[in-house]
């Protein structure tokens, strides 16, 4: 009787210790689901989804406050990925949040720019270089094409320029003449 109690409580203590150690050792930082959703989102930080950036939108999806079809830059491809991840049905993009556009970067017409810094404050990724009363310019490699700098500009000197196909970003096309054949 006593032996059994000792063995059982010893076992319980040992397993409790293992579980306690595992919960510290394998602790998941933050919300794993939010991270996974955030990894799929395109990080344009354009806020077209109605949330102030990609991460808040990811949090909203994880908590069920937002639908998966509110991200125009991600397009249908990203909605498919989100549907796969969350185990829900695919639904086409909600047009009220905007239409997918060709990938672009902003361009500042430097002869018109008055150096007001309003666009600098609007840029979510600090991709605009400039200072008060100094000409501003876009760091093209870091621009996500979110268009958030266009509205604040008082002299309308910012344009979106679609990214042209060149030798380094050119892609082989899927052979098209196999349509019908499998």
């Amino acid at each position: 009787m006593l032996d059994a109690i000792i063995v059982m409580s010893g076992l319980a203590l040992f397993l409790g210790g293992v579980l306690g150690y595992a919960s510290i050792r394998f602790h998941v930082q933050g919300n794993a689901l939010v991270e996974k959703i955030d990894a799929i989102l395109p990080q344009t930080q354009c806020a077209q989804c109605g949330f102030p950036g990609c991460r808040p939108y990811a949090e909203a999806i994880a908590e069920g406050r937002a639908d998966i079809n509110q991200c125009p830059p991600g397009g249908d491809a990203n909605i498919h990925k989100l549907a796969d991840l969350l185990g829900v049905e695919f639904k086409s993009l909600n047009a009220s949040h905007g239409e997918p556009k060709p990938k672009s970067v902003a361009f500042i017409d430097e002869s018109t720019c008055i150096g007001c810094t309003l666009c600098l404050q609007a840029c979510p990724v600090d991709a605009i270089c400039g200072a008060p009363k100094q000409m501003h310019t876009i760091i093209a490699q870091e621009c996500t094409g979110c268009e958030l700098c266009i509205a604040p500009c008082p002299v309308d000197c910012i344009f979106m320029v679609p990214i042209q196909e060149n030798i380094s970003n050119w892609k082989w096309k899927q052979p098209a003449y196999l349509k019908g054949a499998a």
């Binding site: 955030d38 989102l41 395109p42 990080q43 344009t44 930080q45 950036g53 990609c54 991460r55 979510p124 990724v125 600090d126 991709a127 870091e142 996500t144 196909e165 060149n166 030798i167 970003n169 050119w170 892609k171 082989w172 096309k173 899927q174 052979p175 003449y177 196999l178 054949a181 499998a182």
Partner: protein
């Protein structure tokens, strides 16, 4: 006699090599205009060093290697720079790229050539000299050679393999080079052997080139071993040749360097020799012009020579319809022949309907697995095809898509005429594009997080300053009545 190994698969397409080996290497007349692309190698484009209106000497560097993986570009002859801008280049897309346009003055006045005493120079300086001489792999991959001549700390290269297999149909530029300039190749190999401290040098040549084999054997003497390897396509693939010669199978995701073997094309060895012995940068290469022409042959063409100029030398025949750069298995259709010869141009095939009849309409895959039998990389092309076609790129990668060398054996044997390799190229470039996008997204995420952090910090600092100020004001208020 060395016991040879073999790789699985491979095919025996008609060779068509005899036509272009009847004449010695010819020197085409100097063209009126040279268009020299700045991106002729794997890696970053060279940075232009000249402007329109400048006069340059033959061999002068006009494009500087930018970043580590890059190579320099030189003026192939003396003359005047007409422009620096976007011109048509030999690329399957037909897109333009940055080029320097040079008008030759016909004087061929050289820069001061400085031969390099490679035996008394430290390896790193020597590699930089090769980089500045624009020496890149002339077998077709145009990877900067100086990088491959740096085995890395702690690694040892035991075997240096020279690739003279030239397995692809129609192409004979390496064959002619070995026949006529075997000594240059052997001397170049000796320099490479010195740089890598390699114990042995093996030169693999397919047994359909007996003249090249005997010329190379004569030049090599006892110092290097010239091995006749069986003729089978793609026996000249680096991994395939290494396997045949040494029995070493390079595992997926590893390089032969890690296993103590380094492989160079024979033409690369010759250009290493010229760069070291005479200080000459890479200004020209041997180009096979063949197919539907009167006098197929090999030309020593300056880099930047319009391909149409070379085709004119060979005499195009009636019924010519377009051209291929490279061979019929791995080459691509040129958007036009008004594009320049680059360091990667080993062959120009003028097409005609008789030589290259239109391919029959593709039929459904019947899962016969002939492609798998022919695959020299031991892949399952039929599976890769399904995944690529379905856009399931992750799965294609699991099936080792990136071990595909795009040799085209699977397309060649497919009884349904499915353009399999095109699907793999498509899948690869989609995966690369996704990776670029992912990188850009990760950068944007980091920058956005940093920005939020900065705004938060600024807010906090402002609040602290305000709190400090009001605290100061309070102490002043409190202390003032006491003073009164």
């Amino acid at each position: 006699m060395r016991a040879l190994h073999h790789f699985n698969g491979g095919v025996h397409p008609p060779e068509h090599k005899g036509e272009s080996t009847l004449r010695p290497i010819q020197q085409p007349p100097l063209p009126d205009k040279l268009v020299i692309p700045l991106h002729q190698h794997i890696g970053n484009s060279a940075k232009p060093l000249v402007d329109a209106g400048d006069t340059v000497l033959k061999g002068q560097m006009i494009g500087k290697a930018e970043g580590y993986v890059s190579g320099a570009i030189h003026a192939p002859t003396s003359g005047k720079i007409l422009s620096v801008g976007h011109e048509a280049v030999p690329h399957p897309s037909g897109l333009k790229d940055l080029c320097i346009v040079l008008e030759p003055d016909g004087l061929e006045s050289w820069i001061d050539l400085q031969p390099i005493d490679h035996l008394n120079m430290d390896p790193s300086t020597l590699r930089n000299r090769l980089r500045d001489a624009g020496v890149v792999g002339l077998g077709g991959a145009v990877f900067p050679s100086f990088i491959k001549l740096n085995p890395g700390t702690g690694k040892r290269i035991r075997t240096l393999v020279l690739n003279g297999a030239e397995c692809e149909p129609y192409i004979t530029c390496d064959d002619m080079l070995m026949r006529e300039r075997a000594r240059e190749i052997i001397e170049g190999a000796a320099i490479m052997r010195h740089m890598l401290h390699a114990e042995e040098v093996m030169i693999g040549i397919e047994d359909n080139k007996p003249q090249a084999i005997s010329a190379m054997r004569e030049a090599a003497g006892q110092s290097m071993e010239v091995v006749a390897v069986p003729t089978i396509y793609p026996g000249g693939g680096a991994k395939q040749l290494i396997r045949v010669l040494t029995g070493i199978e390079v595992p997926a995701g590893e390089r032969s360097t890690d296993l103590g073997v380094q492989c160079f094309n024979v033409a690369t060895a010759a250009s290493v020799y010229r760069a070291i012995r005479y200080g000459e940068p890479v200004l020209s290469r041997i180009v096979t012009v063949t197919g539907n022409v009167k006098n197929p042959g090999n030309f020593e063409a300056l880099v930047g020579t319009q391909m149409a100029h070379l085709i004119d030398q060979a005499g195009p025949l009636e019924g010519s319809a377009g051209a291929i750069m490279g061979g019929p298995m791995m080459g691509f259709d040129l958007p036009s022949t008004a594009v320049p010869v680059v360091k990667a141009t080993n062959c120009i095939i003028v097409k005609s309907d008789a030589l290259f009849p239109e391919k029959p309409q593709p039929m459904p895959c019947i899962r016969c697995a002939r492609c798998a039998e022919s695959c020299p990389a031991d892949l399952q092309p039929q599976e890769l095809y399904w995944f690529a076609k379905a856009g399931n790129f992750g799965k294609a990668q699991e099936y080792a898509l990136f071990d595909c060398i795009e040799c085209g054996c699977c397309t060649y044997v497919c009884p349904s005429h499915i353009p399999l390799v095109q699907f793999y190229r498509y899948a690869k470039s989609e995966i690369w594009a996704q990776e670029r996008e992912k990188k850009a997204a990760d950068l944007a995420r980091i920058r956005h997080d940093l920005r939020l952090e900065r705004i938060e910090r600024e807010k906090r600092e402002k609040a602290e300053r305000l709190a400090q100020k009001s605290a100061q004001a309070k102490t002043v208020e409190h202390s003032q009545p006491e003073q009164k």
